[in-house]
């Protein structure tokens, strides 16, 4: 036995010495010669039928989609169309789901539970947990069920690799990977899904950059906030016939600002804590092919939509409870929520925000979708308006933009508050679903913390400077 071991050691040592002799290129040399032989054999044995493509559809389409003049405009146009389809198409199903879950089912459940539960328990469970879940489902499900399949169809058709091909020069300059363009576009649907998508990037350094900057893509949960606030405050100062156009332009501007931030932050990261140069980028541009629609629908619904939705629901339920409790537990006759709002107001005003917004963003960490309902609920509760709303701690949304506007104006909101809310909505911590996904992907507390705190630090800095310069120039 002992002899055996000695022998084995000697063989291993000899093998190691030989490896030094052979050098490190053995594998490459082997692989190259195998390929060389295979090619030689194939050349002798395989006869290609002499068919020349009469009209190369692929090459013509490639020439247009990646051309100097049409490449970028076409890209913006196609992505814009995807967003438009998502926003427009989601409105009706969102309304239907909301009317079912919120308007119909909620009172039923409430009456049912009230019959045997104490008021506070049915409040926490139904007004808090259930309603938050209902909001998240009704606001998130339809846009995701539209966006992800459309995105997957584009991917299947072969367009997305061309986007990466077009965008690559920009990403190369900032030391990032060309495929970051794909994960960024995915982030416009949902940041958590975008972060899962960073798995396509091989290099760990560039994958981290893609993960950290993904939050700068406005996700579905933030589009409604952007659109509503932009319509009320920015569209509001334009002449009536331009309102739609101006507010849409403002939202697109914020989205492009997000892309700019993602490039700038990528550049800073690859100069500092993630030092390095852009690594090899070999991207296959597959031939265009007709998308397999049914299969795409199925996989994108199961893999992406349901997966993301399930995580969001898990996180929204406890948040709903917290919202209800914060609005209903009182100290000295004032609810915890109001205590916080009054305490945070002076601090928030420095950043051109207010206590309601800060509290809403803290409560809405689980899901960005509930920011606007929470803001409305808190504003009403804080002002003590009794004519609107659905009772304390109950989130609601108003049917008309005008009603929402009047509540916000009553809460002391100005154009500056609106602008800052839009900026803050772009630059704040990722939602808890995304934070959890970042942790799952990086397995590192450090990178999770950096991805969480970096955007929020940027958000406070940007709103601070905007506010002070605004006050200096416009006057408060």
């Amino acid at each position: 036995m002992n002899n055996h071991n000695v022998n084995r050691e000697a063989i291993l040592a000899a093998a190691n010495n030989l490896r030094w002799e052979v050098g490190e290129n053995l594998h490459d040399t082997l692989m190259e010669s195998i390929y060389e032989n295979a090619t030689a054999i194939a050349r002798k044995a395989v006869i290609y039928p002499d068919k020349k493509p009469a009209f190369s559809f692929d090459r013509t389409l490639d020439k247009i989609l990646t051309s100097k003049y049409f490449g970028f405009p076409l890209m913006l146009l196609i992505l814009g169309a995807v967003f438009w389809v998502t926003i427009e198409g989601a409105n009706i199903p969102s309304g239907l789901i909301a009317s079912l879950l919120v308007d119909t089912l909620h009172p039923l459940l409430k009456n049912f539970t009230n019959s045997f539960m104490p008021w506070w328990l049915s409040g926490v469970l139904i007004d808090g947990a259930y309603l938050a879940m209902a909001w998240v489902v009704s606001v998130m499900l339809p846009p995701m069920a539209i966006f992800f399949p459309v995105y997957t169809l584009l991917e299947d058709f072969g367009y997305l690799p061309r986007v990466a091909f077009n965008m690559d020069p920009l990403y190369k300059k900032v030391g990032a990977h060309g495929k970051q363009a794909l994960t960024m576009a995915m982030g416009f649907g949902c940041n958590a899904a975008g972060i899962v998508a960073t798995r396509v990037i091989d290099s760990p350094r560039e994958k981290l950059i893609a993960i950290i900057t993904n939050n700068f893509s406005l996700c579905n949960g933030r589009w409604p906030t952007q659109i509503l606030i932009s319509t009320i405050f920015i569209g509001g100062i334009a002449p009536a016939y331009l309102t739609g156009l101006v507010s849409a332009a403002a939202v697109v501007f914020v989205a492009i600002l997000g892309i700019t931030f993602s490039l700038v932050v990528s550049w800073i990261l690859s100069k500092t804590i993630l030092r390095g140069e852009a690594s090899a980028f070999s991207l296959e541009l597959p031939p265009y092919r007709p998308p397999r629609i049914l299969q795409t629908l199925y996989t994108s619904l199961i893999d992406r939509t349901i997966f993301v939705l399930w995580r969001a629901v898990i996180f929204a339920v406890p948040a709903g409870m917290v919202i209800w409790l914060a609005a209903n537990i009182t100290i000295d006759g004032v609810s915890i929520a109001n205590h916080f709002i009054n305490w945070a107001n002076p601090f928030a005003l420095i950043f051109g925000l207010n206590g309601v917004i800060l509290l809403a963003y803290i409560i809405a960490i689980p899901a960005n979708e509930i920011v606007i309902p929470t803001v409305l609920m808190l504003t009403v509760a804080n002002l003590g308006l009794s004519s609107v709303g659905a009772g304390s701690g109950v989130m609601f949304e108003l049917d008309s933009v005008a009603d929402t506007a009047s509540i916000l104006h009553a809460g002391g909101w100005t154009l500056l508050t609106g602008i800052n809310l839009m900026l803050f909505s772009l630059l704040h911590n990722p939602c808890s679903t995304t934070i959890y996904t970042i942790y799952k992907e990086t397995k590192s507390v450090k990178w999770t913390l950096i991805s969480t705190l970096l955007p929020i630090a940027m958000g406070f800095s940007v709103t601070f400077f905007v506010t002070q310069i605004w006050r200096l120039v416009v006057g408060s």
Partner: protein
């Protein structure tokens, strides 16, 4: 409400102050971290490494050379040496310092971690070539032998680091030193670069700037006291002997003696075709494997098909697929030139 102007100035001051403290690498907190990390253990390990290096290169090592290598003064170096002796890592024979067996195996453990890390950084990450050494220099003091074995297994138990230095085995074995410095070559000789010394950084960065890397095939054209001229990958390079001394060459696997200039892939215009001759050794690890997986190996026909803005990246047709490659990589894929194609 505060005056916006004062708030603005205060904001700028706060951000300036915070970045002064927390700015990566240059900030106060990182400086402090570096300063506290510079402990006795680190110094002992660095001294052992230096002693081993002297032994490997057959030059004698003194207290002064330790002081120079670690940038500490002679007094501290002398204290360090007596501490090493007390630990049984070092034997002093008059002026000359010699490692004990225990000291040698300690030094080899550190060197193993250092070279494994450089190899890992080169193969698996996109860290800049000039940063490899510094990062490895930090990691070598933090890794246990078990962690080193794990890292080695993860990257396929490599035997050489990216500079061409052999990596000690986990038992502490090393092959004997091979090759000779570039400035001792004769005109007309073919050779492969087998090692590029990465210290001092000033000289190393000059070698990098010439685009030289281990594994590269060269042909010496002219050797004199003032300069050494040679052909590397079809381009002429001129180095001063001081720099050439840091490059070790040897005759290893010269299966193809390629003379004259060959083209690089990036020189193809859209619609032009070429035949792959090989991938430069400077493309390594994942990058290299990926290119070879895509079928970019000697003998493959390749055609430039589509250009992005600024001609970077360019999409090439390889074995029926269209692959986009950045210029940085396309510069390092060699094609047969027209003349050799005919023959």
């Amino acid at each position: 409400m505060t005056d916006p102007l004062i708030a603005l100035i205060a904001g700028i001051l706060i951000i300036g102050f915070l970045s002064y403290i927390f700015w990566p690498n240059f900030g106060l907190s990182d400086k402090l971290k570096r300063w506290t990390q510079d402990t006795e253990r680190v110094q002992i390990e660095d001294a052992l490494k230096h002693l081993y290096d002297c032994e490997y290169r057959n030059i004698s090592c003194t207290i002064n050379s330790i002081a120079g290598n670690l940038s500490i003064n002679a007094d501290r170096a002398a204290k360090l040496v007596s501490r090493l002796e007390a630990l049984g890592l070092l034997a002093i024979q008059g002026e000359v310092l010699q490692l004990t067996a225990q000291g040698r195996s300690y030094a080899l453990r550190i060197i193993r971690v250092h070279r494994l890390w450089e190899r890992y950084l080169a193969d698996e990450t996109s860290t800049k070539e000039l940063d490899w050494h510094d990062i490895a220099e930090k990691q070598e003091h933090l890794f246990t032998p078990e962690q080193a074995d794990k890292l080695a297994a993860q990257i396929g138990n490599p035997v050489y680091d990216p500079h061409g230095d052999p990596i000690p085995s986990s038992k502490g074995d090393l092959p004997t030193k091979k090759g000779k410095p570039l400035n001792e070559m004769l005109p007309g000789e073919f050779a492969n670069i087998i090692h590029i010394e990465d210290e001092p950084p000033a000289i190393y960065s000059q070698i990098l700037a010439q685009g030289l890397y281990p594994g590269m095939q060269i042909r010496v054209l002219e050797v004199s006291d003032k300069r050494i001229k040679f052909e590397a990958n079809g381009e002429e390079c001129v180095l001063s002997p001081i720099i050439a001394k840091n490059i070790t060459v040897g005759i290893i696997q010269l299966e193809k003696q390629v003379e004259g200039k060959y083209k690089v892939l990036s020189s193809l215009k859209v619609g032009e075709k070429g035949t792959v001759l090989g991938i430069a050794k400077a493309l390594r690890g994942q990058q290299r494997r990926r290119l070879m997986d895509l079928g970019i190996v000697p003998g493959t026909e390749i055609e430039a098909q589509l250009e992005s803005l600024n001609r970077d990246p360019v999409a090439y047709k390889v074995r029926g697929a269209v692959i986009a490659i950045r210029k940085q990589q396309a510069d390092r894929i060699y094609l047969e030139s027209k003349e050799s194609e005919k023959g």
